[in-house]
Amino acid sequence: MNYDIVIIGSGITGASIARELSKYKLNIAVIDKASELPAGASRANSSMIHGGFDDKPGTMKAKFCVPGNKLWHKLKDVLDVHLDECGSYVCAFNDDEVKHLELLLEQGKTNGSPGVEIISGDKLREKEPNVSPDIVAALWSPEAGIINNFEAVNAMIESAQINGVKLFLETVATGLLLDDNGNVRGVSTTKGDFIAPVVINAGGVHAGEIASWAGDKSFKIIPTKGEYFLLDRSTKGFIHSFLFACPSKAGKGITVLQTAEGNLMSGPTATEQLDPEDRSTTPEGLAEVLKGARKLVPNFPVNMNITTFAGVRANTESGDFEIRTLKNPRGFVNAAGIKSPGFTSAPAIAEYVAGLVKEELADRVTLTPNDKFIPERHNIPRFLYLDMAERKKLAEKDPSYAQIVCRCETVTEGQVIEAIRRGARTVTAVKMMTRAGTGRCQGGFCCPRVAEILSRELGIPLEEVTRHGGESKLLVGKTKEFLLKKGAEA
């Protein structure tokens, strides 16, 4: 399989780069080891679109955060993605922390973050009555927002696919292929070789290992686990925005936010670990989150919790993004070490990477504008958010939109079928694309129904349907067959 560019990883970084490069006449492949998107850190994060005051001027993070934020405010309509333009607060509990807010304010101004200001604790409590009475002041960032990260990654990669990009899931990169001159020739994978003169490393927590295939040892990824609580959507309005505690050396600390869909959420911890794939939650981590949540929001209604989860983000020793082309081998680009504010920065990083390819790798690929580029992408209709007239119209046109599959999030069969048409192959993929199973019963009701629809639409036996690919089958076989087999064995 021959391509102009192969992108390893389809998290928000890889997907954004793919879409950006699809504005040119290029043959692009994106490969990802996951069975559904988003999978890695892009799935399990705070879903924050940062205001841009937190990053030290001069860093790559500062360079991309504010432009990324501005791009998302436009992309939300172009890509039909939920972005709650709610703003954020950094909360100070004492004079020292107020001093820190002043520093952040200055930093924000330098970084070009619009409208940041310091407000009193009382003013904050007027807007957010449930925050701690001990907060004395807060830094308000009006341009910050909270995005539906499941939708955003799928929207980005779908938009790229609309413009010709090929996506290969369940495809694990195993090594870099070099030509006789020692330059990039492609990527070897578990699904065969992908031949291309340019390879972009957007491998998230695995980006360090992938870079080492190119002999690049200039940075190291430190997998850092973040654990979260997610609460029932009936907590909507308990708070309305994104609350940070004052940052410390350990990071931005535990935050409390209302997701774009209205769930109260809190996290993350920051625990360094060796295993990039260990996304298990821990008693210690969850206790730390709860403590942090209660500091900001004393009556954090943890009894409304519907799930806990963990993500592993790609921290680096430098603390900054690692984005550059390599001199040797030629054709290799790192878009690595993308952690907070990585989601925010992704569209700006994508523009920068496209620029690098254009300017620094012109000898390997030519970037001719694709005049047929279609910027818009439409989401699967969201029944929950439609008004009654729209719902009626949809149900008349296609009766499968008059059949509820997920009762918690009011997801219809029509939406599930459309997700499958767009590439969903697992129960989790349907969840990422439609939110079926994200509600208070966590799939207890809809999982068997989604599995049946997957089986029917894909023409595969029910026992072949998986939760999230690989060995994650839902069922082990038919009842009587199982019993007979056991009888025969005995």
């Binding site: 996304r279 298990s280 821990t282 008059a402 059949q403 509820i404 068997p448 009842t479």
Partner: protein, 417 residues
């Protein structure tokens, strides 16, 4: 059937079907029961084990058999059923009920009265926050039961059951019958969550180990479940260090409690009781919205289906009376209070218009002679001796209307004698 719906019932499980019968018998003309599933019967469709209807029919029936008898009666009474029909919204103030169905599309119904009979759902894993991975192979017992009994598929070969609610106990036996291994049932409390008879018939008879004061503390596996860590707990239900044990399994079934399903009730604006999780009702099973009634597990989680059917009949009859203008809107509200050992109870108010039954569960088991009783303004108005009282089994307090005509409040309790 056409014209205005007199009584609209949401959910065709045991409570809803009985409510339909009750409403028709009381004289309501157009009685419609909505059901989101393709068939009637609610959860009893998948409860193919015997043990239902001992009180109502004086014989042991399976869930589908029990429901069949009620459904047959309902058809004979002229109740209209609409299956594959989901209510997705109720507008407060107007009591407009929005439904969807593949053939009928989206419709707005404006009945004279409504009966909420949506039943309950199982508590999910997230409610108890077990650390570890998120592999496949973790199901609520009811979901697993649907897979095995309705779809004919096995969720796994080697199961651990967390919680000792009745569905978990029933599924432990069911998994054995289908050739799987059950490593044990683990219950964090010091007493079982389900009925004693189910402990005997589903666990003891099959040699399935039952561990009280023990819980799952970690989930192992990324793709498919590989095992769980279990540990004993202290009086505060905190795991005791050093008691951890790894149990290999590919399936974890959760039977950790049931929650009345009240999204629609909240939309309709009726008051929800913080302890039962169901609508606040009076002895007519009328909610705080006078046109809306509620019965069965949507109000309080029952132990026996016979009680659910009885309550359905009462709610349906009263909803019909309301639709026919026979219930005055100025009913008395005598509050019912729970004593020391009462965890939850329903109804929370009585009107004094009819004799009524208050259903309750105790907080702590009493394994010796005790009495369940009620006092009205301090005076005993009901007392019944019991051999024991257990949280897994409901108790009843019978209130005679003539005893509460001039009282301010009623208190119920169970105490040793």
């Amino acid at each position: 059937m056409s014209g205005k719906i007199d009584v609209l019932i949401i959910g065709a499980g045991p409570a809803g079907v009985a409510a339909g019968i009750g409403a028709r018998r009381e004289g309501a003309e157009n009685v419609v029961v909505l059901e989101r599933d393709w068939d009637l019967g609610g959860i009893l469709q998948q409860c193919i084990h015997p043990g239902f209807g001992l009180r109502t029919f004086k014989e042991e029936l399976t869930g589908p058999e029990y429901m069949h008898r009620f459904i047959k009666q309902a058809h004979e009474e002229g109740v209209e059923f609409r299956t594959n029909t989901m209510v997705f919204q109720i507008d407060r103030d107007t009591n407009t009920v929005w439904t969807m169905n593949k053939e009928r599309g989206i419709e707005a119904l404006n009945p004279s009265s409504i009966v909420l009979t949506m039943g309950c759902r199982e508590r999910p894993l997230g409610a108890i926050r077990i650390p570890g991975g998120r592999p496949s192979g973790i199901y609520t017992a009811g979901t697993a039961q649907r897979f095995v009994n309705m779809e004919g598929y096995m969720p796994g070969k080697r199961a651990v059951i967390l919680g000792s609610g009745d569905i978990g106990l029933i599924m432990a036996r069911r998994m054995i019958w289908e050739g799987a291994t059950v490593e044990g049932v683990y219950e964090v409390m010091s007493w079982p969550g389900g009925l004693r008879r189910n402990i005997a018939q589903c666990l003891d008879d099959y040699g399935i180990p039952f561990h009280l004061r023990t819980t799952v503390t970690k989930i192992h596996g990324q793709d498919r479940l590989e095992g769980v860590t279990v540990a004993e707990v202290d009086d505060k239900m905190t795991p005791i260090p050093g008691t951890e044990r790894y149990v290999e399994c590919d399936t974890l079934l959760l039977a950790i409690g049931l929650i009345p399903e009240n999204e629609l009730s909240r939309m309709a604006g009726v008051d929800i009781h913080p302890v039962t999780g169901g609508p606040v009702v009076n002895d007519l099973l009328q909610t705080t919205n006078p046109a809306i009634f509620a019965a069965g597990n949507v109000v309080i989680v029952y132990d026996l289906v016979d009680n659910v059917s009885d309550e359905g009949l009462i709610a349906g009859a009263n909803a019909a009376k309301f639709a026919l203008g026979k219930i005055p809107s100025t009913a008395k509200r005598i509050p019912v209070k729970g004593g020391e050992n009462v965890r939850l109870y329903s109804p929370q108010f009585v009107t004094g218009k009819t004799d009524s039954i208050i259903f309750m569960r105790v907080t702590h088991p009493i394994e010796k002679a005790c009495k369940v009783f009620a006092t009205a303004d301090g005076e005993e108005i009901y007392s019944q001796r019991l051999r024991y009282a257990r949280p897994g089994e409901m108790n009843e307090v019978k209130i005679k209307a003539d005893k509460v005509q001039n009282v301010n409040s009623i208190t119920i309790d169970i105490q040793p004698v």
